[in-house]
Symmetry: C2
Subunit: 428 residues, 2 copies
């Protein structure tokens, strides 16, 4: 709804005001629609915003209650700061930041106190030199440690807070006599703030990042399944009604997979902080989700090639094209079923029972197509008639090992995470 | 260097101590090697760490200088905090955070002061209620605004600091009489801290994220060029010496492109903060780099398909395979040259002069290959002998439009960013 400013050069001031008023009104409507869409796309965003508002009000209560204020005083700002900085969208991220912050404050406060003691030994003139030296050395060292990939993924925020608190404690110790009391109050308020943030985050409609990751991985597998189930129809019918079917939504869904690597890894790292989630328990194998995600993405690259054949010009199928139609359709439908079954297994945390049967069918169909291709003899054909369907067939054959790998990874996940076996089935 | 703990069950205490001492020594050596490698991989990490240490020492000087401390007092902690939180690896990130922090502190401090004034009108009992109400409303609103993608990419940190400072100012105003003085001191110290961080970051071996982005995009284009130039040799010679060539490093370089989307976008967003970089000037078209990067990545997906053909079993080439060898090799070499020329143009910020000639050659070679494929008649051939080389030929034909698109995007970039024309050439 971008509206170009109308020409107001020859208009009177009233007309001009009217025109600008209209433009402003349009702009307001536009912004309001954007806000509405943002909320509708994911209503949890609104809930999260209200939760932050509530947590802030809760923590500011401490200021208004006289006995609490008398006890802690100005250091209450650390509680407010903690709530603002620690409160994140998901439980995992909030817990990660909260625990990082508490641990880092505690350890760096102790170290800062030790350095303060050392510095006082150096006499009045030596004190700032010793303090400055330690601040530089420890600041530089911890900054370097932040570059370690393993530290960066899990403890980056903690290391930042470590530098911050250490510098604050050791530097303020030069001016403040009651260092121990100050450090104690700061740790207490930071624990209070983290506690408020974590409790609000968990108690009011919590968003567990572990569940999000599970759904993301399952949905990605499902998208591949949807593509493959729809592909054979779209490809082989293309010549009948002459309509390109490539713009159907289920044929485009897989595209978001191609670049989902980073978000999957971030989510898996955050999910580890959600120690006690009722569904997953301790030591849930989050890394395995990343592995399944990687295999799914490798499969998606091949699917991308299949999608390109859909976009090419309309072809009429010759004898060869018709010959591969049946086995290709079989491969598409079996792999679609297998993938959707795997997706549902991951989502419901069930052991998948019928996947192996689909995989077996898939292998048989692939062998049929392969031997058909191997033995097919071209007697008198133009190359350009044969190549496109043959390419599709070969790419489908290429996709099958990817699907088998995904299935194996999901089975491994199921055994690592102790997925339940569905009770309705009786094994023979 | 993971060494399993040797069995020490039947050994005496001295032997055991020796063994554990050795294990510890091995572990220390391992960690030391990791640190060394981290520093060697990118020595700028060491420089950055030292810069952080220096900035911290500089800011803590304020504490030791009596007149400065008298003037500002305890609020100096805000300067220390700002240095720790604002100092980032690249100039762009540091500037972005520093400007965000200063602007957010200033505006939210003013708003907090206004709310404080409103609350005092409500009388002693009404004040906490009004303050609590505003804290909740503004906290929730700004948290929601952080979900807007445009705000998230550029102003996320500023919005966080806005919530933080607003809550701090409006809540402390309940207990503090000299709110204006406090707000003023806080803004001053935050400006001081940001200034120290920014100056240290820029003056000592600065890392400009704009240059990093430019190099990344150029290197990615070059990697594609290297692959294509090496591909024809690796593919067509594979039958001669029987050695798979797919593990040569230039054939694997493109893989990092497949998932570089996020880092390119982040870098482009940060580069915009580097307003006055000597090489790029104001309003450098950073978005265009992302566009070039996206096109490069789309090309890399196709290259991935080519790479798969390298990994397949060794084939002997029949008559057809030999026939496509020449035009395919021509396409590979011309596209390799064109891409490397484009990469060098982006890196040196030159108008590329010879690219168009390569692109023309490339188009001619593609037409030759196409017409060869179109007119080739299979008289008596087995499908499995014909398909693999035909697939390679078709994928190469598919890659060409991608390269043309990359070239167009680079030309657009050159004109948007006013790349210089090389002086050595005289146009006829």
């Amino acid at each position: 709804m971008n509206i170009a400013a109308p020409s107001t050069e020859n208009a009177g001031p009233f007309t001009r005001a009217c025109v600008w008023h209209k433009l402003l009104a349009n702009k307001v409507v536009e912004v309001a629609e954007k806000i509405k869409k943002l909320g509708q796309d994911d209503p949890r965003r609104i809930v999260h915003s209200l939760k932050v508002g509530l947590a802030l009000t809760l923590v500011s209560l401490f200021y208004y209650i006289q006995p609490l204020y008398d006890h802690i005083g100005e250091n209450l700002i650390w509680a407010v700061m903690t709530v603002v900085l620690v409160f994140e969208f998901s439980v995992g991220a909030t817990l990660g930041k909260g625990l990082n912050r508490m641990l880092a404050t505690f350890s760096s406060g102790a170290l800062g106190f030790g350095v303060h003691y050392l510095a006082t030994l150096a006499g009045e003139k030596g004190e700032p030199i010793v303090l400055g030296f330690f601040v530089a050395i420890i600041g530089a060292t911890v900054t370097f440690v932040r570059f370690f990939p393993t530290m960066k993924t899990r403890y980056d925020y903690g290391l930042l807070i470590f530098i911050l608190t250490f510098t604050l404690v050791s530097v303020s110790s030069y001016r403040e006599d009651k260092v121990l009391r100050m450090a104690h109050q700061r740790v207490t308020t930071i624990i209070m703030g983290s506690f408020i943030a974590i409790v609000t985050c968990i108690c009011i409609r919590p968003i567990w990042i572990g569940e999000e990751l599970q759904n993301l991985v399952a949905n990605n597998i499902e998208k591949l399944g949807n593509f493959l189930q729809g592909f054979s129809g779209a490809y082989f019918k293309i010549s009948e009604d002459g309509q390109p079917l490539s713009d159907k939504p289920f044929l485009q869904g897989y595209k978001s997979l191609l670049t989902s690597k980073n978000s999957e890894e971030t989510m898996a790292n955050l999910a580890r902080w959600e120690l006690w989630h009722y569904r997953f328990g301790f030591c849930h194998p989050w890394k395995q989700y990343v592995k399944v995600g990687t295999l799914t993405r490798q499969c998606a690259y091949k699917i991308d090639a299949l999608n390109n054949y859909l976009n090419s010009e309309i072809q009429t199928f010759n004898e060869f094209g018709c010959k591969i139609q049946d086995p290709s359709t079989k491969i598409c439908s079996e792999s679609g079923k297998a993938l959707r079954e795997l997706a549902s297994a991951v989502k419901k945390m069930n052991q998948s029972t019928s996947v192996n049967a689909h995989i077996e069918n898939l292998k048989i169909a692939t062998e049929n197509l392969k031997s058909m291709l191997d033995t097919y003899h071209l007697k008198d054909a133009k190359l350009q008639d044969v190549i496109p369907p043959a390419e599709v067939a070969l790419t489908l054959i290429d996709v099958v090992p990817c699907i088998v790998k995904i299935a194996d990874a999901v089975h491994e996940l199921a055994s690592l995470a102790h997925f339940k076996t569905p009770a309705t089935r009786v094994s023979p």
